[in-house]
């Protein structure tokens, strides 16, 4: 067995030596290997199908075999297409230019890393010379408010006072007024984890969006997510005007194909990447690096 795509494709081309254009058989074998690699990396089934079709077209259109290293040539195409699909070269900076206070809302499934990412974002923004206010709007998860307050304490960043008896939409509206009156230029709203199929809780998020009109609505996704990533992301994106994605837990060994799936179905850029549990473990996203990671290179 071969471990990486490069070796696998080399084997395909060695077995099926040809001249000039790729033969149909070579294309088929090649695409089979690429498909396997992507599926093993958790890229969604349908996204893989479309992707393989695109790469296949490009490979046929080029004289891949005239190159001395056809496998490398194909991999180059695959990497370029992957990076392009993931938004290579596109602007994935946070949009904070509006009149302050600027609001950012984080949302996503249970346990994705929202609360931790709120803390990380607050630290990052303060390092960028901003003055952020953290707002705990999760009244459901046991000790969620206490969790954010602890992070705030660790960072020396103020956390808006709320209790589990408050309504999330009210907390957010009040926090916004509080920020206006007290000179905060950025507000970070932490929301409770929820399933995309939970109509009531998704409605609550819509209420928050209506109440505070966030400039950034960031979908927080776990890099280890499997095939379901497309269903969840598409659903969040349909119900809320998402502006971007935070991909968490990238410090592990997951290949992170979910990133590609999410980008493909939402069209929203991955803006930031969580690289650990510590509060400074937040990095900007690089499409090309992600492409290499998905390919296991």
């Amino acid at each position: 067995m071969f471990d990486n795509l490069s070796d696998k494709l080399d084997a395909v081309f060695k077995k099926l030596r040809g001249h000039g254009r790729l033969t149909e058989k070579q294309i088929k074998e090649t695409m089979r290997e690429i498909r396997l690699v992507l599926l093993e990396a958790d890229v969604n089934f349908r996204v893989v199908r479309d992707f393989v079709a695109t790469v296949s077209d490009r490979a046929v259109g080029q004289d891949v075999l005239k190159s001395l290293t056809p496998a490398q040539q194909v991999i180059k195409i695959v990497r370029e297409e992957l990076a392009r699909l993931m938004g290579d070269g596109e602007d994935n900076s946070l949009k904070l230019a509006a009149k302050p206070p600027v609001s950012l809302m984080l949302c996503g499934l249970q346990g994705a890393g929202k609360t931790t990412s709120c803390g990380k974002l607050a630290l990052k923004l303060r390092r960028d010379k901003r003055n952020p206010l953290l707002v705990p709007a999760d009244v459901y998860r046991p000790a969620a408010i206490e969790q954010l307050k602890t992070l705030g304490r660790q960072l020396g960043i103020e956390v808006f006072d709320s209790t589990i008896n408050d309504k999330p939409v009210d907390i957010c509206s009040r926090a916004r007024r509080y920020a206006e009156l007290n000179g905060f230029d950025t507000i970070i709203f932490d929301t409770a984890g929820r399933l995309h199929i939970d109509t009531e809780l998704m409605g609550e998020l819509k209420g928050i969006v209506q109440a505070v009109a966030p400039q950034e609505i960031l979908f927080v996704a776990d890099a280890m997510t499997g095939q379901d990533a497309v269903t969840v992301a598409a659903s969040f994106n349909e119900q809320l005007p998402l502006t971007g994605v935070i991909l968490t837990k990238m410090d592990g060994d997951a290949r992170g194909g979910a990133a590609l799936s999410i980008r493909a179905v939402t069209g929203k850029p991955v803006k930031l990447v969580g690289m650990g549990e510590k509060l400074d473990a937040l990095e900007v996203f690089h499409a090309d690096r992600m492409a290499q990671r998905i390919l296991g290179m």
Binding site: F45, Q110, A143, K149, T150, M224, T225, G226, D228, A254
Partner: protein, 279 residues
Amino acid sequence: RGRTEIDEELLEDLEEVLITADLGMKTTQHLIQALETRLAAGRLTDPEQVRELLKAELKKILALESRPVDFSSASPFVMMVVGVNGVGKTTTIGKLANQLSRAGHKVVLGAGDTFRAAAAEQLEVWGKRAGVEVIRHAEGADPAAVAFDAAKAAVARKADILLLDTAGRLHTKVNLMEELKKVRRVLDREISGAPHEILLVLDATTGQNALTQARMFHEAVGLGGIALTKLDGTAKGGIVVAIAAELNVPVRYVGIGEKLDDLRPFDADMFVSALFERS
């Protein structure tokens, strides 16, 4: 000729079902190839028969010869709960504590996650809901010291069961996996044979990485079983099939929500049926 075409399409459909349920390519290919062999041998004509055959095969893989957890096999019976970040360890402990205490056992919880912000507070809320005592230290304390105290307390209170929470950790972090081993040693020193069960919690939305998680946790501390959480979403959690096939670790519980009652024993029939339901 016509029938072969239908069969091929059917196999492709079934392959899609398995892949999109996160069974992984190795398991999927293995299952589909076995079906192909059966089809080539003839006799099967009805697509429904083929589907049932596949379901039976899946159930066979999942139906491991495993004893259920026997909480009365030791006193106190110690269960340690492990897993990567955010999968549902603390919540599962809360639900389990409630079930066990309702069943008449005296349960004590150990707040072995001293790292994550407000992890002990979270467990305390669950302890209150379940009506059981929680042993905790301050944030940043040594988790092995919590394990030590929790074990001592469980013995002193004549508890039947100690459930020990641990901090979420990625299986790739060597020092954190070593820390787990240390906690396990401390428990064994205090209560001979403890922990009697190490439960790995897996999130059903996780893809292929769950297999690596199971492998590495199994290698590090030895797993007795798995709790598969968040099955109330649209993810199927099919990776447990690959895990059962490779590691022989049974799924014991499934999490189907965030409430106290949302924990059920694993049922292979229901699980396999759900794999084939379109969501």
